[in-house]
Symmetry: C2
Subunit: 359 residues, 2 copies
Amino acid sequence: MELSERKKKILSAVVEEYIISAEPVGSKTVLERSGLDFSPATVRSELAALEKAGYLEQPHTSAGRIPTSKGYRLYVNELMTKKKLDGDEAELITRELGSSREPEKLMGDAGRLATELTSYPALTITAPRALTVKRFELIYLDPNSFIIVLLLSDNAVKNKLVRLPFSFDESLLKRLSAVFNASFTGVAEEDMTPLMLESAERGANDPMGLTGVIASFAIESLKSARESETVFSGGESLLKLPEFRDSGKAHKLMSYFSGEGAQKLPVAGADGDVRVLIGPENIAEELKDTSVVLASYDAGDNTRGLIGVVGPTRMDYSKVAAKLSYIADGLSRLLSGGMLSPSGFGKLMISEGDDKREG
Amino acid sequence: MELSERKKKILSAVVEEYIISAEPVGSKTVLERSGLDFSPATVRSELAALEKAGYLEQPHTSAGRIPTSKGYRLYVNELMTKKKLDGDEAELITRELGSSREPEKLMGDAGRLATELTSYPALTITAPRALTVKRFELIYLDPNSFIIVLLLSDNAVKNKLVRLPFSFDESLLKRLSAVFNASFTGVAEEDMTPLMLESAERGANDPMGLTGVIASFAIESLKSARESETVFSGGESLLKLPEFRDSGKAHKLMSYFSGEGAQKLPVAGADGDVRVLIGPENIAEELKDTSVVLASYDAGDNTRGLIGVVGPTRMDYSKVAAKLSYIADGLSRLLSGGMLSPSGFGKLMISEGDDKREG
DNA sequence: GTTAGCACTCTTTTCTTTCGAGTGCTAATT
DNA sequence: AATTAGCACTCGAAAGAAAAGAGTGCTAAC
């Protein structure tokens, strides 16, 4: 059943007012906010109708109305005017993301940025990937140590310094590196162990068992890429919100997301678009009066990750969605080839040596 | 003025009881806990004396006593019996630290471990280090890309994949790597820029300006090692404590440590020993009814870092100190050469670098 | 030096009362 | 038929009053 135009206006007014005030909204307030020109009594009968239809509820008989999750859902899907990001913020996002220098910390930094902009805790989920090693390189340092460098299929580089209690010479490393590049490249993690054993069996001219060391490192690297990793940050921002005044709730929520809870969020979803999970639509009991707004980004290599924020159902979905969407776009650009900011390498080769900008 | 034996026992009883209950302690409770065989009236006069001497205070006239920070200080320095870590926990610490595979994440993992064991938020501060590059290695991938691998003086390995919009050949990389290993090793970060400019001026046979790319990466790596980094985690565990029931306090504390506050802690200190900062001894206003217990660890290369927890002044200092001290020892062993855990190929591993990914 | 006894203080808890925001209904108005 | 004014009613929140309780400090006796 389609709601009348007036009901929609009233519902919007209730939602928007409640988002700001966190207090039940009464008929008078609706009139002020909506600009409609009727009497409170009229609005009251409309409110009663909206309540019967399941969009609003009353905490108790003599209070105003608050939106139900059905109400929020309608608001988010149809009523809300999508806000545009203002230029300052867009610029801030671009700048901050671009200045995150270490890829390991990029997701964490993006999360902190999301917290800063929305005042809600942020959550990032990196997509698991089945990678392979594209190239093995062994760097000889001295008779007891060498560095393993792996170039993975997503162009990440992993390395490890190995020091041994016995000595070897450079030619052994050369030989091994040839073997690895010939037989272990493009091999999936689960096929690597048998391959390694087989190779050891053949007695591949490796008296000290370096094959095992190198293969183990490769396996470990591929394995950790295969696990999706979540980062939760900014939990303290919840404490400012009235619905988390009683610290028990905040604690539950933070523990949930600091722990394994984040893994349970539905990772699949409309590519590129922002998804909003409202209250009971969420999976976990801990989240029943909490909403999650998630934006997905392209992590390159045909995988997608998620970045989102967690907050009370009463969230400014419109603003939050705009911000997250912009951050996710930035991440996509950074991770899937293009460069976000001119301070990265793309320009570096032209205006090279500009270390001032990077400081 | 030295306190009588009986006064010391009473003070200990008050502190220990208050640590558990978080409620002002009265004369009757002191008797129960201390096992002393006097009447409440006797204890009362002793309590009054301890209050006059500044070790205790009364929240209001008809309440029990709580320790002042002077009281805690005396307790921590002289009265407290140092607890030993029980075997299970020692083993847990050893195992957990040993299984932290990525060095970048070691400090964060150690912090989370501290939180888990103490139920207080943890704080790690890595010592800033003035490093140099020990070895440059350039790995040729294809005509447009190569990997820079740096071995730093603390044996950390850094790398970055560089992709260029024009092509070059392997011999150029060989030449450059020889130049860098000859002139840029052992050079401090601040001397590197002039050196690089000078080298560019000499026109060191580098038509595409790769020198700048490589040197910039080295500078950036050295610079980030020079900054001390802090990680704060486990803030949510504060919320269980009665003194942080009102969420404003918890919020202040968390914000302080999540932000720049941690930097202000006194990093210098008795090597290897555990330091306890009690309430007003702390620097910041935010910390005035908070204590910080800090253990320092040997980060190798003649630098020391800190790991600690933050909690209410009413903390079980003895247990907390034992745990932190053990964790710090573990970190020292891991970071300064020796290996903590014999698991897998761990024994062979000295240091493992992070991966850099080109955007 | 120690203790029993007791009046006193101040917080905490509980119960009442008051206040007010907001409702739902009915009857009048347009 | 939709809108509105009017009004009694509900129920939480705030304010006030009373009672309970924990613990003290003091005094006088042991």
